[in-house]
């Protein structure tokens, strides 16, 4: 094979030409900058977060009667938001852990952003079930501790499973993220312009000096954490789906739920990665580090997940018909497509099944704006999917006399908008204070690519 031209093609994972020092400084620059745009974004998301805090305070003081929930629709927005946020988190771990094990090189530039997204999405997700308790100050009852009341959590119920799953997922994601961060914090320490920054980053870098003895243990520990995080991705959303599947309700009681939920989670998560990465690479001029190759790969992943989801939709409907249970048939084949929430159902199908078909086109996968628009529609679609699963299964249950329509209140809307603001606020803080591109990994990858190139040139 002839040696390719010196300039890497558009398919390259990395397209930087500057030296290691310049690259490091450029990737660390956001840490020392005081851009006005950041403050404006901070103010906007800060206002949204304030709304979130107010809505939470009102909910806690007045009780969850201020939400639109009723009987039979007891779950509604809070659980919709919970499942949506926790699903978004999944792609972060998938990119950082699963693709590490598969030695996918395009993961290097985007894994830290994806992991941060996971952590911040989990923070939002964890808030909703706690608020939904109605008396959130008793949330600690989920922990098995020797209480004077002499009762214990009921571990045969899916809800304590959920608690263990989310707790583990958050902790493991945090450890994995931080372990990956340490060498870059050391770089930030060594490049810090002020003594205060040097001390702060130095403290968090734990005195990392990049010794070969440390790298040896570090690579093993990092690989093991990736190996541990990978089954977690699958298990956490499977367990979330069991909150539904272990109940007797038509529309929930289905064995396809765990894989169906995992595929949906990864789908919405990849969409969120696109939503975050596309503006980011533009704002920080990172087109040579997060290349069109990355967008292309994430787009392909989203398309693959879309088809798994479509398969799950078809199976769910087919089994409802094939099984012959009259209630399940009604929920899936009558109430959802033609009931009071039918418009949301059809909108959801358009967003989740039709929009991703655009991703077949390579031109659209590598067009940031098109990808960004598709990602927003997919996320909206995935939110609607959870709404449909939860509300349409509840609002028309077995007895028509107990049917009830659900409508959200302003508090519900504030909590949803507020959690999105809070998520973005945390992400802004992350961009400002943490090296958000894994600098060491990018340099390592670039080195490997250059060596391969040289070897190919020799041949």
């Amino acid at each position: 094979m002839a040696a390719p031209a010196a300039a890497p093609g558009p398919d390259a994972v990395l397209r930087t030409a500057e030296g290691d020092a310049e690259l490091t400084d450029r990737l660390l620059a956001p840490l020392w900058s005081r851009a006005r745009a950041w403050w404006i974004a901070f103010a906007v998301t800060g206002a949204g977060t304030l709304l979130f805090a107010l809505a939470i305070a009102y909910t806690v003081v007045a009780g969850i009667g201020v939400w639109g929930n009723n009987i039979p629709v007891a779950w509604a927005y809070a659980i919709t938001n919970f499942v949506w946020w926790i699903g978004i988190g999944h792609a972060g771990t998938f990119i950082s852990a699963f693709l590490l094990l598969l030695q996918q090189r395009w993961r290097a530039s985007v894994n830290r952003i994806a992991e941060a997204m996971t952590l911040f999405a989990l923070v939002q997700a964890a808030l909703f079930p706690v608020l939904h308790l109605g008396r959130p100050w008793f949330a600690y009852w989920l922990i098995p501790y020797p209480a004077t009341m002499q009762v214990w959590p009921q571990f045969r119920s899916a809800l304590p499973w959920d608690f263990a799953a989310i707790l583990t997922y958050f902790t493991v994601s945090l450890l994995f993220w931080y372990t990956g961060l340490v060498p870059d914090l050391a770089a930030a320490r060594d490049r810090a312009p002020t003594r205060a920054a040097r001390l702060t980053y130095g403290l968090f870098a734990l005195g990392w000096r990049g010794a070969a003895r440390h790298w040896q243990a570090y690579r093993i520990a990092y690989g093991l954490l990736a190996g541990l995080a990978t089954p977690l991705v699958i298990s956490v959303h499977s367990i979330v789906s069991m909150d539904f599947a272990t109940s007797q309700l038509p529309g929930w009681h289905s064995t396809i739920f765990p894989p169906y939920f995992v595929a949906g989670a990864l789908y919405s998560g990849f969409a969120m990665v696109i939503t975050l990465v596309v503006p980011l690479r533009r704002i920080f001029h990172l087109e040579d580090v997060i290349t069109t190759r990355h967008l292309d790969s994430i787009g392909k992943m989203a398309l693959a997940m879309a088809w798994m989801l479509i398969y799950a939709y078809v199976t769910e409907a087919f089994i409802a018909w094939y099984r012959g249970d009259v209630f399940e048939r009604y929920t899936l084949l009558v109430s959802r497509p033609s009931g009071p929430y039918a418009w949301i159902f059809w909108l959801m199908l358009a967003c989740n099944c039709l929009v991703p078909q655009l991703l077949w086109s390579r031109r659209l996968r590598t067009a940031p704006l098109a990808l960004f628009a598709a990602s927003l529609l997919i996320q909206a679609g995935m939110w609607m999917e959870r709404f449909i699963i939860i509300v349409t299964s509840l609002n028309r249950d077995f007895l028509p006399s107990s049917w009830h329509i659900y409508a959200p209140t302003w508090v519900d809307w504030s909590l949803l908008a507020g959690s999105i603001s809070f998520f973005l606020l945390l992400f802004l803080l992350f961009l400002r204070f943490v090296p958000f591109i894994p600098i060491g990994e990018v340099k390592h990858l670039r080195h490997e690519l250059a060596r391969e190139e040289a070897r190919r040139g020799q041949r």
Partner: protein, 191 residues
């Protein structure tokens, strides 16, 4: 494993207190320099680099850490503890009879057992890493060498330990100079 082997393995992984440091321009040159020093009879060599130098373990003669075994043990301990607490809570201390189903309801306890097992293993990996590397350790003599800040950016550093049997201030410096480093530095403070 003979006890002598264990001693050498421990000695090899002990942190090197650098007596002299040298910076190189690329990981390949660093690895080559380390290999040549090893051939010349040096034993206590450490490399510092912004990203892992491939093949450094072989050049330095480092053994594979036992970290995976620690992680496995922590994972199993976590899983066992989770299984025990579920059995103790729901079958022993406060037996809950739901429709006459068996008290020993292991299938329902699988998710929590799995999750807490993974949690234990992850703690094992993280704290095992800290224990193995001796971090956090905010001060190290290497940091006091002139220009060592580049070790996290674009400098590939080599150090010879003060406890190396072949170390001699004059000869070692000469040996290193023949390797063609970018610069040579000595720690300005020692522990």
């Amino acid at each position: 494993m003979a006890s002598g082997d264990v001693r050498t393995a421990r000695a090899a992984r002990r942190d090197v207190v650098p007596a002299i440091l040298a910076e190189f321009g690329s990981p390949e040159r660093l690895r080559e320099a380390a290999a040549r020093l090893r051939r010349a009879g040096y034993e206590r060599i450490e490399l510092y680099s912004p990203f892992p130098v491939d093949g450094a373990e072989a050049v330095l003669g480092l053994r594979r850490p036992t970290l995976p075994a620690v992680v496995l043990a922590c994972g199993l301990a976590g899983a066992a503890a989770a299984l025990w607490i579920q059995w103790f809570a729901n079958a022993w201390d406060y037996p809950l009879n739901v429709g006459g189903r068996p008290l020993l309801s292991v299938p329902a306890w699988v998710p929590v057992t799995f999750e807490i097992g993974v949690l234990g293993a992850a703690f094992g990996a993280f704290f095992g890493l800290l224990a193995r590397t001796g971090l956090p350790r905010l001060w190290h003599p290497a940091f006091t060498a002139q220009g060592f800040e580049s070790a996290s950016v674009d400098g590939f550093w080599l150090a010879v330990g003060a406890d190396d049997p072949r170390y001699d201030p004059v000869r070692t410096r000469r040996d290193i100079e023949t390797l063609g480093p970018r610069r040579i530095a000595v720690p300005e403070q020692m522990p």
